[in-house]
């Protein structure tokens, strides 16, 4: 099995509202896959369909080679899930919840559990009622990581963790990746996805807008340039692919599409470059572009690499 998750044209409606509107998602076995999108884009709904908690109205979904709805219980033995908003049983201790969830999946690795409890600095004797949001999240994350499963599904797992614990989370997930486990990581914390994921899927309003490796996607974004020039530069404003051009006394600022970078630089050097600051596209920019006014008309799901060059 080379695909842990394959979702095609998934549709889910709540009354009039189309939460998922033809969503596609492909997660290969053994990869850490970033699942990005703004709040309300449909990340949680997609995960709930994959977990057999919700039934899709259209499209297909396959999980670990099985049907997520009809084979839910058997499939769940092989995966662990951490919801975005973790609520636990107030009168159980954190340690009890970790053990119970592990046993309800494929079993729990107690050495791994003890190690994780220590790394995340969790007091497992406290009742869940007294845990903060971050601590409840730690309980669910530890329970997932210590479970003997093939697939880990995290829905915004670090939204309540402090920066120190975020680092711990990244380290332990990197270890899972190296151990060959598949991870679906839904997030809007971009640095986390940047650090952990080989491939990402970006969704917006229930549709997939981009999917591919991070380097694929970087080709699609603009590099921002700030240059000090000896003479005014000619022809920048007429060059296709140059955006947000600002001409100042001593130089220019603009952003430029990857495919026009070469020509833009040629015009700059013709005008005598005194200093140049160029910033590579950050994931933030990549992400923001898809938040902005919708390229709603179906953007190609996986753009052929040739177009970018």
């Amino acid at each position: 099995m080379t695909e842990a998750i394959r979702v095609e044209g998934l549709v889910k409606t709540f009354g009039q509202f189309r939460a998922l509107d033809g969503l596609d998602l492909e997660v290969r076995t053994g990869e850490v896959h970033g699942f990005l999108g703004p709040n309300g884009a449909g990340k949680t709904t997609t995960i709930r369909v994959l977990l057999g908690l919700m039934r899709a109205d259209g499209g297909t979904a396959r999980l670990l080679g099985g049907d997520p709805w009809s084979e839910a219980t058997a499939l769940h033995r092989r995966l662990a899930y951490v919801p975005g908003d973790v609520t636990l049983w107030p009168n159980l201790s954190g340690g009890e919840v970790i053990d119970m969830l592990g046993r309800l999946r494929g079993g729990i690795d107690t050495d791994r559990r003890d190690e994780l409890i220590e790394r995340f600095a969790l007091d497992p004797r406290k009742k869940c009622r007294t845990y903060s949001k971050g601590n409840r999240q730690k309980v669910a994350v530890i329970a997932a990581l210590a479970s003997q499963v093939e697939l880990l599904i995290f829905d915004e797992p670090t939204s309540g963790l402090d920066p120190l614990m975020e680092v711990v989370f990244r380290e332990v997930v990197a270890r899972e990746r190296d151990a060959g486990r598949t991870v679906l990581l839904s997030s809007h914390i971009l640095s986390e996805v940047d650090a952990l994921c080989e491939r990402v899927t970006i969704i917006r309003a229930g549709r997939t807008v981009e999917s591919g490796t991070l380097s694929d996607l970087r080709h699609l974004t603009r590099t921002s340039i700030q240059a000090e020039l000896a003479r005014p530069a000619d022809g920048l404003d007429t060059l296709a692919g140059v955006h947000d051009l600002v001409v100042e006394d001593s130089g220019v600022r603009f952003s430029v599409d990857a495919e026009q970078l070469d020509q833009a630089l040629a015009r700059l050097s013709a005008a005598g470059v005194r200093s140049l600051v160029s910033q590579p596209p950050t994931l933030e920019e990549l992400f923001l572009r898809h938040y902005e006014s919708a390229p709603a008309a179906a953007a190609p799901v996986e753009r052929p690499a040739g177009v970018a060059r």
Binding site: T73, H76, W89, R129
Partner: protein
């Protein structure tokens, strides 16, 4: 600067409430009214009950002589004194006020639940922290919850006074009955406010407040029974807020000064709650939480085991309550039987018949009490089944259902309690009643059978709860409405001469009235079949629908 070891505001050792501590109270009052508007409407419906009780008594006992004979019978009856309180006179007003004597306790129950809902529940859910970070004083939440509850109780009191006056009863006495209800509501609202400060868990706070209500009810019952029979324990009544409410003696002497006692209690309890609230951190209590085990016991490895863990405390509490109730009902069975036999016109028998009691005197009493227990057991069944709903809307079911736990197995863990729990409750209640009835040898098997014969009706209500949860999860709370309808049909249906077709809606109409009544198996088989089918339909709905429901 003085430094306090307590986390008191601004480093003062004993913070006196300042006006800034109350900033935003008005806004929170509006928030509570917005969130609970429907609950509050239902509360007002309760206010219409006294006037309808007055009309119903007026119909049953149209002349002064009828009322006098009824009052004489009641006076001689310790069990009813324990249930309703002391009866002081035989006018329609006095008899009405007596008949509804325990209703202020129901208002108290609602009040304490609402206050805890808007204080400790908010805090445990983390919402108080959010609200507390805005321009809201540190006491605003507690004071707002208490204010709303006091206010609604006063409104209820005025509605009661107006409707009783409208039913032709004297104005002063009607106002006194209203005050009686307001006392029950306001004192227990303050009890709830204090209980909410003591523990970190809403459940424990409810336990403390409900326990207080239960104890004061029993203390009042003991005091009243002692007073009526010339005993020495009459003073016990004065230890109980429910006792104060009744000691106003509406339509008799209308002792308004008793209100001062209640007012003082409300003031002291509320001030204590505010003082405790000022001395503690947000999210903490006075009674500390003990740490739990670091690892789970070997048995905690299935959804069923989790359900047992979540449900056992509640079932244990109900079992104790049924045992106590059974012991009480059993012990007064003889006394009641004697008073029924002395009652030449059979009026008391009428009263019991309306409660579902038939047959010989002792049996009439016992079967009426079995009917009551069946209603309570149905309350437990609904509560236990609705735990599914609580788990789902509390988002705890999601992480569980993402493990290798199927929906049916998850549901089954809780439904075992909804279906087997009532059997245990009825059995314990029956055995306890038999033990104190004075003829344990004869009554044990009779009462056990009588209790278990009610079970199919209880199951139907549990099944309705499951069906609502599976098919119409948004309306799951309507299960309580179904039980209320059954109670209403049983309580007033016969008196109002409602058509049999309507009465038949309640499953309790069909269960045999045992001991003493005719037994027939057919209704029990039909009711059980209905329960099975309705449950199956509900579970099918649960399997097919989205979770969480939207």
């Amino acid at each position: 600067m003085s430094v306090s070891t307590r986390p008191a505001p601004a480093g003062t050792a004993t913070p006196a409430p300042r006006s800034s501590d109350l900033t935003g109270t008005g806004k929170l009052v509006r928030l509570i009214l917005r969130r609970d508007r429907w609950l509050l409407v239902w509360w007002l419906v309760l206010a219409l009950y006294p006037a309808s009780a007055a009309r119903s008594l007026d119909n049953l006992y149209p002349t002064a002589a009828d009322l006098q004979r009824f009052a004489d019978d009641m006076l001689a009856n310790s069990a009813l004194t324990a249930l309703y309180g002391q009866l002081h006179g035989a006018s329609l007003g006095e008899v009405t006020a007596w008949r509804i004597g325990s209703y202020p306790a129901i208002l108290g129950l609602l009040s304490l639940l609402v206050v805890i809902r808007h204080t400790r529940v908010e805090e445990a859910a983390g919402r108080r922290e959010l609200v507390g970070s805005t321009a809201v004083g540190r006491h605003a939440g507690l004071v707002a919850a208490l204010s709303v509850t006091f206010l609604i109780n006063i409104v209820v009191a005025l509605v009661i006074a107006a409707t009783l006056r409208g039913a032709g009863l004297p104005g002063a006495g009607s106002l006194a009955v209203g005050a009686q209800f307001a006392v029950g509501g306001c004192v227990f609202a303050a009890v709830g406010g204090l209980a909410a400060q003591l523990t970190t868990s809403p459940m424990a706070a409810r336990g403390i407040a409900l326990g207080t209500l239960g104890v004061t009810f029993l203390v009042r019952a003991l005091g009243d029974v002692s007073a009526v029979n010339g005993g020495a324990l009459g003073w016990l009544t004065w230890l109980s807020p429910i006792g104060w409410a009744q000691q106003i003696r509406a339509y008799d002497s209308n002792r308004w000064w008793v209100l001062l006692v209640a007012l003082a209690a409300v003031a002291v309890l509320s001030a204590t709650a505010v003082a405790v609230s000022a001395r503690r951190d947000i999210g903490s209590g006075v009674i500390d939480e003990r740490p739990g085990p670091a690892t789970a016991a070997p048995g905690l490895r299935s959804a069923g085991a989790l359900a047992r863990r979540l449900q056992r405390g509640s079932l244990l509490g109900w079992l104790v309550a049924f045992a106590v109730a059974g012991l009480l009902y059993g012990s007064v069975a003889r006394t009641v039987a004697d008073s029924i036999d002395d009652d030449g016109n059979g009026r008391l028998r009428d009263v019991l018949a309306r409660l579902g009691g038939t047959g010989a005197a002792v049996d009439a009493w016992l079967s009426a009490m079995m009917g009551l227990m069946a209603i309570l057991a149905a309350g437990y069944a609904i509560q236990a089944a609705r735990r599914l709903d609580a788990e789902e809307s509390g988002q705890r079911s999601e992480i569980l259902l993402a493990t290798a736990t199927g929906r049916l197995r998850w549901a089954a863990g809780h439904l075992v309690f909804a279906f087997v729990g009532p059997a245990l409750l009825l059995a314990v209640g029956a055995l306890a009643a038999a033990a104190t009835s004075g003829e344990a040898g004869r009554q044990t098997s009779r009462l056990l059978g009588a209790g278990l014969a009610q079970l199919p009706a209880v199951w139907v209500l549990a099944a309705v709860t499951v069906a609502l949860f599976g098919l119409l999860p948004r309306l799951a709370a309507a299960a309580w409405g179904a039980l209320a309808l059954c109670v209403l049909l049983g309580d007033v249906g016969a008196a109002l001469d409602l058509p049999q077709g309507l009465l038949d809606v309640s499953p309790f109409t069909h269960t045999p009235k045992l001991p003493g009544g005719d037994f027939s198996a057919m209704p029990l088989i039909v009711l059980t079949a209905v329960a099975v089918v309705v449950t199956a339909v509900g579970l099918t709905g649960l399997r097919r629908r989205d979770m969480p429901a939207n």
